[in-house]
């Protein structure tokens, strides 16, 4: 018996060492991560700076605060692209234009009038507050060469990593693991064989196993055990069958592929856009509403591409820019002429949160009246690259929240009287939705 025990501990030891080895491998691998693409590129950009016009850093901050609404350095927006502007116009002309473009047009300057006409008579506001030095800085910033090459390169590698890099590393781990295990088995077998040979050679008598009743036979003979097992098996299968049926029609985690890869992470997360800016009907209507495309175009008229820093390991800048292009196709926006062609193609989003028709749910009740955060039901939406259904949307889930959540009564005249009377009746200060009748069947089913 002792030896048996010993043998056991050997195998356990081996297993442990294998696990140890494995975790070690992953650890080493984790340290090999490449330098993030963004960093490389920004370093490049910093290196490339160096112009005699002024301080591009100051220029960048001025540009972003004053000019970026209408201009982009390298492409047309509401106003012309500014890169190369110093070649077209001389400094003096530019300064006076920036200080007061309207006066310049009024004075009949042919160049000024030409620009004014070209951009559909959109007047550029005057910036008299900018000193000559400021203007130099801005021009220095916009005249920096476009950091094209590195961006493209990093984009390509990033995309390559996404498809190939991730796959290889996983397979590698598995391969190494398998190899190590096979080696261990071989070693074990060889050691055992050698030891036996030694034992036979040295005349050690190997213990012979006594044949007892097999365990299954003794199990069958023990009627009590059989009964208990049967009961347990029945209960367990009942539990799992129940569990299986209860998840039918529950689509928690449903994450369909959408026609446009719209990233809530970028919009709600990185850019901190308030949910109800786009989903405005959540305040007043039953539905939160998928924003119509004209809402997207409020911003995307001037945002035709994402910043370099928006790109992630999974999705490159090119990928996102293509998605914005899809929006332009749908709305019929022509970025070159900055106008709508009139050809629209509605986007057919795949609906994620599907309540059955017989269940009534009203967003405005929860968002405006109760002041519930969107994230309470929709989860960490600001972190979702692609939205998935966070909550189970089952009746139990609704009811539970109604039982636990206190009604937001402060400052709402509607509730005042009801609250006073009910809190007296129940002897509590705070009232849950359930106490106000939020559990009645007919409130949501009619």
């Amino acid at each position: 018996m002792k030896k048996v025990k010993f043998r056991h501990s050997t195998s356990r030891l081996l297993l442990l060492s294998a696990v140890f080895l494995l975790s070690f491998t992953t650890l080493t691998f984790a340290q090999d991560e490449p330098v993030p693409a963004g960093e490389v590129q920004s370093q490049d950009a910093a290196a490339a700076s160096g112009s005699d016009l002024g301080d591009p850093a100051n220029g960048k901050s001025l540009f972003n605060s004053l000019c970026a609404a209408c201009h982009k350095p390298y492409s047309k927006s509401i106003g012309p692209a500014l890169h190369g502007v110093t070649d077209k116009h001389d400094r003096e002309w530019l300064t006076s234009w920036i200080h007061n473009s309207a006066a310049k047009i009024a004075s009949g300057d042919p160049k000024a009038v030409a620009i004014y006409e070209e951009y559909n008579k959109t007047a550029m506001p005057a910036f008299p507050q900018l000193s000559d030095a400021d203007i130099s800085d801005i021009l220095a910033y916009v005249e920096q060469p476009k950091p094209e090459a590195p961006a493209a390169a990093t984009g390509a590698t990033a995309q390559g990593d996404e498809s190939a890099g991730g796959g290889v590393s996983n397979n590698l781990i598995l391969a190494i693991l398998a190899f190590v295990l096979v080696m261990l088995l071989v070693i074990l077998f060889l050691v055992n064989k050698t030891l036996r040979k030694f034992a036979v050679a040295s005349g050690v008598e190997l213990p012979v196993k006594e044949k007892g009743t097999p365990i299954w036979k003794s199990f069958v003979q023990n009627q009590f055990l059989v009964l208990v097992t049967a009961v347990i098996v029945l209960l367990a299968s009942g539990y799992f069958i129940y569990g299986f049926f209860m998840q039918v029609g529950v689509d928690q985690g449903y994450q369909p592929i959408q026609p446009i890869h719209y990233s809530h992470r970028i919009h709600a997360g990185d850019n901190q856009i308030e949910c109800k800016y786009c989903h405005s009907s959540a305040r007043t209507s039953k539905t939160s509403g998928i924003p119509s495309l004209n809402v997207c175009m409020n911003c995307h008229k001037s945002i035709g591409e994402v910043a370099e820093s928006t790109a992630t390991e999974d999705h490159s800048k090119e990928f996102y820019d293509k998605e914005i292009q899809k929006l332009y196709d749908a709305t019929g926006w022509d970025p070159a002429s900055q106008s709508y062609t009139g050809e629209t193609k509605p986007v057919k989003w795949v609906r994620i949160h599907n309540l059955p028709d017989f269940a009534y749910f009203n967003h405005s009740q929860h968002v405006t009246v109760a002041g519930v955060e969107c994230q309470k039901c929709h989860g960490p939406i600001q972190e979702m690259e692609v939205v998935y259904q966070n909550a189970p949307l089952t009746m139990g889930w609704c009811i539970n929240c109604h039982r636990e959540t206190n009604v937001k009564i402060e400052g709402n005249e509607y509730y005042e009287k009801i609250h006073d009377e009910l809190s007296k009746k129940y002897g509590v200060e705070e009232l849950t939705a359930a106490q106000l009748g939020g559990l009645e069947c007919g409130k949501c089913h009619y």
């Binding site: 007043t284 539905t287 795949v350 009534y360 509607y414 007919g442 009619y446």
Partner: protein, 1024 residues
């Protein structure tokens, strides 16, 4: 003990040596089973490629595939606007004020639209000049989504573009030799009148004929002769103390309808006073049913009545040859009228200029404040004389082109056949039509016109009251308004919208225009010159009286043609809501029929009988009139029908552009000679039995005074409430205790002190039975249409029904007395049977019944799955997704208000109504579930509406004011018969109703404690 009895299964067995019996004894089947034919044919078996194994494989595979596919949830697409219109928020309703003006119904309404599509018609409460929306107007939203609509212009049955159409029609009109005849409905539109004048100046040979399918010509002529305007006198019955109607169904469609709201106001006892209403009529009409005293009299007797009334009030000879009881009633009515003086009014519906002249004279003599001749109604303009000549005109060869707008003469003219023949010979015929109806079918050019919910317009209700029509949806099809076409063809490039604005630019300056459009109605004076110029010669009233009494001879059976509140003139025949709406009087749906008195029916051997399943069957008759025969008209024996008279509704029997299922009834227009609603006919029995779809089988109350409580004004004023509105009592420890007392209560009561507690009060005095609420409920709650066959099986789905009861004695009080007096077996055997039969001239009462929302609901306690439960706000909630369809609740409901979905009524070809096509489904209310097969449903007290009101208040952070809460029925009732509100709001009107001494609950003795209450019916029976 064996019996010698021989049980035989057919008559054959009685014959000895019958070969059939012999054969059947030998063989189990009468014919050989063709086993060999099938299995013996080796060839076909071997050539069949499907072996048994294959078959099993296929079965197994398809089962597995089906079950696997079922695990996948469907992918639902969600498509937002590309550019969202500013005012449309998905999920939030928008309301627009507009006006229906289809030539028959003229009402300002409020249209509820969701996501840009109209789903419901509501009353425009700002509009005071006209009554609210009736049943037809409520249902008109469904006619917008009629799948039978014409979708684009057509030339000789071929679809063309509007450019092509304009080119062809323009050329045809230019080249037309002879008159251009323009036959239109009454538009009552100043802009359209102006436009037709413009058109006439472009084409000088245009002649305009206004044609009302159901004519008010006599009244128009009389009014025009007396007051110089072709219009109808307006009446405000709320001011009336005594109303005498001689054959005028002024609660129906008389003079364009809409008088019922004012009438209802005068009928609710206030300070011990209410109006007295005396009705002389042949058919049992809504007005007769609501009258305090109804005198059945044939149309010829009515003439004498009117002449008599004139004699008693104004003076002159009264040579009445009337039966004593009518004469007596006339004398009393005249006394009553004289007593009420300027608060009295006489109206008549006789299609006779003399009669109408006389009424104007009587009202003038009474100095009646009820009648308004200064601000008359402009909503009927039809000229029967011109229409009468129409066929002759078409035949004469002088007509080069004819245009029809909003009318369907090939269906609704009495001589429609001749008309159709004549029309075929006209070179240029143009129909402006929404449907490819009888007339449009015959016309070369069919201009597809939009529904009123897609159109612009201005309407002149009365001389000073106007309203605007505005589109509430983009045109569904490639349609163009009649007016747009006229503009185009008269070479005017402005849109009709601009044209209307130009018409009104003097009255409605920019700001006022928007305000008028928002309100829907405004006051002013018409900027257009009235078209009608000809004035008839004024007939002296006394001459008229003489003429009338001279014409008061009875000539055989007198037919009075009438219009039903559901079908009107028949324009909306393809509207399943209206077809399924039961007639308020006969309670029969999906039909029209000849109403006949019991005595006449017995004489002609005509029967009505209830067959085994309770459904009503009736005999057929042929109705003959000067060579015109209308065959196989079903008969309903109508209590209260004057002996010697019959009634038949117009608007049925339409075949073109009407779905097969809705081609019901007989066309009565061939009997509408000279557009006169009273005709002499002869009737003979025809063979066959007609199957009615009648929803009410029990006509009397059998003396059960606790279902409908009613009393007289005298008792109401003088006696204690206990006498006439007693709370039922039960015996508790040998003490009589009222059922409302908590001591006799079996149940613990909910505490409903806090929050809202909804109650609905129904005033039986104000309810005229018009049925607007029935359709409003239908439309709000997605109630399915089940069709005639199912209604016949009592499977109608109406959440709200209006029960109509006749008294078996002269009055309901008489019924109760008779029942109380029954003692012993023999008397109960005979007299209960008698109580089942309505009296010849019964009292009538209407009672709207929906779920009573009992606080102690019998349905709730028996549901095995708790699918119906009680809410704190008083509603009895029905949870469809929980219901398993045991129908136990319906069995336990004492009010029979629960409806079971025997089938899937949506998307089911067996029920091919609006819910079975994409267009029709657009009318569904997105806030209410469409129920599926196997679940129970019932009135929810419009939970979706109360919830919406509460949520709006919560969002605004304010307290809800009284009058904000509404159900679909209470909002639809312009008579104020239904009051809905929160009884926990002490200032609410409903609290006053609840404390009113007239208040009672339906079947109070059962102890269900309903949240719906009724107000005792009071009749003003006091004679002068």
């Amino acid at each position: 003990m064996s019996s010698n009895k021989k049980y035989w299964k057919s008559v054959e067995e009685l014959k000895e040596n019958s070969s059939i019996v012999e054969a059947l004894q030998q063989n189990e089947f009468a014919e050989e089973i063709p086993n060999d034919e099938f299995l013996g044919d080796k060839d076909s078996l071997s050539t069949s490629s499907t072996t048994r194994r294959d078959f099993l494989k296929y079965v197994g595979f398809s089962t597995a595939a089906a079950s696997l596919a079922a695990c996948e949830g469907p992918v639902i697409k969600s498509i937002p606007y590309v550019v969202q219109p500013e005012r449309i928020v998905p999920g939030v309703a928008n309301y627009y004020a507009t006006t229906i003006a289809d030539g028959f119904d003229f009402t300002s309404v409020l249209v509820k639209t969701r996501e840009g599509r109209p789903v419901k018609i509501d009353n425009n409460v700002i509009s005071t000049s006209r009554g609210g929306a009736n049943a037809r107007v409520n249902a008109s939203v469904l006619s917008l989504y009629d799948s039978k609509r014409v979708k684009r212009p057509m030339v000789k049955g071929q679809n063309v573009s509007w450019e092509e159409f304009d080119k062809q029609v323009g050329g045809a009109l230019q080249n037309a030799s002879g008159e251009i005849l323009l036959v239109t409905q009454t538009f009552a539109s100043p802009s359209t009148s102006k436009l037709i004048n413009d058109f006439s100046s472009k084409y000088p040979n245009v002649r305009h004929v206004v044609y009302d399918a159901v004519s008010e010509d006599a009244a128009l002529n009389a009014f025009q002769a007396k007051y110089g305007v072709r219009a109808l006198a307006n009446y405000d019955f709320s001011k009336a103390e005594t109303i005498v109607s001689v054959g005028a169904d002024f609660l129906g469609d008389w003079h364009g309808g809409g008088f019922d709201a004012g009438y209802a106001k005068s009928r609710v006892p206030k300070n011990g006073k209410m109006s007295r209403h005396i009705q002389f009529e042949a058919n049992m009409s809504l007005s007769g049913a609501n009258a305090d005293k109804r005198v059945p009299s044939t149309p010829s007797q009515q003439r004498a009545v009117l002449a008599g009334l004139y004699g008693y009030i104004v003076g002159g000879s009264s040579t009445s040859k009337l039966p004593a009881y009518i004469d007596d009633a006339v004398v009393k009515a005249a006394a009553q009228l004289r007593k009420a003086g300027s608060k009295a009014v006489v109206v008549t519906g006789l299609p006779d200029t003399d009669a109408q002249t006389l009424v104007l004279a009587i009202n003038e003599a009474l100095n009646s404040q009820v009648i308004d001749t200064a601000n008359p109604r402009m909503i009927r303009q039809g000229d029967a004389a011109a229409v009468g000549k129409l066929v002759a005109d078409l035949k004469s060869g002088n007509v080069g082109a004819v245009m029809f707008a909003g009318v369907n003469p090939a269906y609704s003219l009495p001589d429609a056949k001749e008309f159709s023949e004549a029309l075929k010979n006209i070179e240029v015929s143009i129909a402006f039509s929404m449907k490819e109806d009888e007339t449009a079918k015959l016309c070369k050019y069919v201009a597809a016109t939009p529904h009123y919910l897609e159109s612009w317009g201005d309407i002149q209700f009365t001389k000073n009251n106007f309203s605007l029509m505005q589109p509430t949806i983009r045109p569904l099809f490639d349609t163009r308004q009649f007016q747009e076409c006229l503009l185009k063809w008269s070479g005017n490039d402005t849109s009709y919208y601009e044209y209307i604005k130009q018409t009104w630019n003097a009255t409605l300056a920019s700001g006022a225009w928007n305000e008028a459009l928002h309100d829907g109605v405004f006051e002013g004076t018409s900027p257009a010159v009235s078209e009608s110029a000809a004035t008839g010669s004024l007939v002296d009233a006394s001459t008229a009286a003489r003429n009338l009494s001279a014409n008061a001879e009875n000539k055989g059976m007198e037919l009075t043609l009438y219009t039903k509140v559901s079908m009107g003139d028949g324009q909306q025949a393809n509207n399943p809501w209206l077809q399924e709406m039961p007639d308020p009087i006969t309670r029969a749906s999906w039909d029209n029929y000849l109403t006949i008195s019991k005595a006449d029916a017995d004489a002609l051997d005509l029967v009505n009988e209830n067959v085994a399943d309770g459904a009503l069957n009736g005999s057929y008759v042929n109705v003959k009139m000067d060579g015109v025969v209308v065959e196989n008209v079903p008969v309903i024996i109508q209590p209260g029908q004057a002996k010697g008279s019959v009634g038949l509704a117009l608007g049925y029997g339409k075949k073109e552009a009407v779905q097969k299922e809705m081609q019901v009834g007989v066309n009565a227009y061939p009997l509408y000679k000279n557009l006169t609603s009273v005709q002499n006919v002869s009737i003979e029995k025809a063979s066959g039995v007609h199957e009615f779809a009648c929803v009410q089988l029990q006509n009397t109350l059998m003396g059960r005074g606790d279902i409908i409580k009613e009393t007289t004004l005298e008792i109401f004023n003088t006696k204690d409430k206990h006498e006439w509105n007693k709370v039922p009592e039960v015996s508790l420890n040998h003490m009589e205790t009222p059922v409302t007392s908590p001591e006799v209560d079996l149940w613990e009561s909910f505490d409903r002190e806090v929050g809202h507690h909804f109650n609905l009060s129904i005033d039986l005095n104000a309810c005229t039975g018009c049925g607007a609420c029935v359709i409003a409920c239908h439309s709000e709650n997605n109630v399915p249409v089940v069709g005639k066959e199912e209604v016949r099986k009592s499977r109608d789905m109406h959440w709200l029904r209006i029960d109509r009861y006749y008294s078996s004695q002269d009055s309901f009080t008489g019924d109760v007395e008779k029942k109380e007096a029954i003692a012993g077996l023999s008397s109960s055997l005979s007299e209960f049977g008698e109580l089942e039969r309505p009296s010849d001239n019964p009292e009538v009462v209407f009672q709207p019944v929906m779920c009573q929302h009992c606080n102690h609901a019998p349905c709730e306690t028996v549901c095995p799955v708790a699918a119906t439960s009680h809410g704190r706000q008083g509603q009895n909630q029905m949870i469809y997704n929980r219901c398993v369809g045991t129908r136990y609740c319906a069995n336990n409901c004492p009010y029979k208000v629960r409806r079971f979905n025997w089938f899937n009524y949506a998307k089911n070809d067996e029920f091919d109504y609006h819910m079975n096509n994409d267009l029709g489904r657009m009318v569904l209310n997105p806030d209410v579930t469409v129920r599926s097969r196997g679940v129970m449903e019932k009135c929810s007290m419009c939970m979706q509406k109360t919830q919406k009101t509460i949520l709006d208040a919560k969002r605004d952070g304010r307290v809800i004011e009284d009058g904000e809460f509404h159900t679909a029925c209470s909002a639809a009732c312009d008579k104020g018969a239904m009051v809905f509100g929160d009884v926990n709001d002490k200032s609410a009107k409903i609290v006053k109703e609840k404390e009113d001494k007239r208040m009672y609950h339906l079947l109070e003795s059962v102890g269900t404690k309903p949240n719906v209450m009724y107000q005792t019916k009071i009749r003003n029976t006091s004679e002068v």
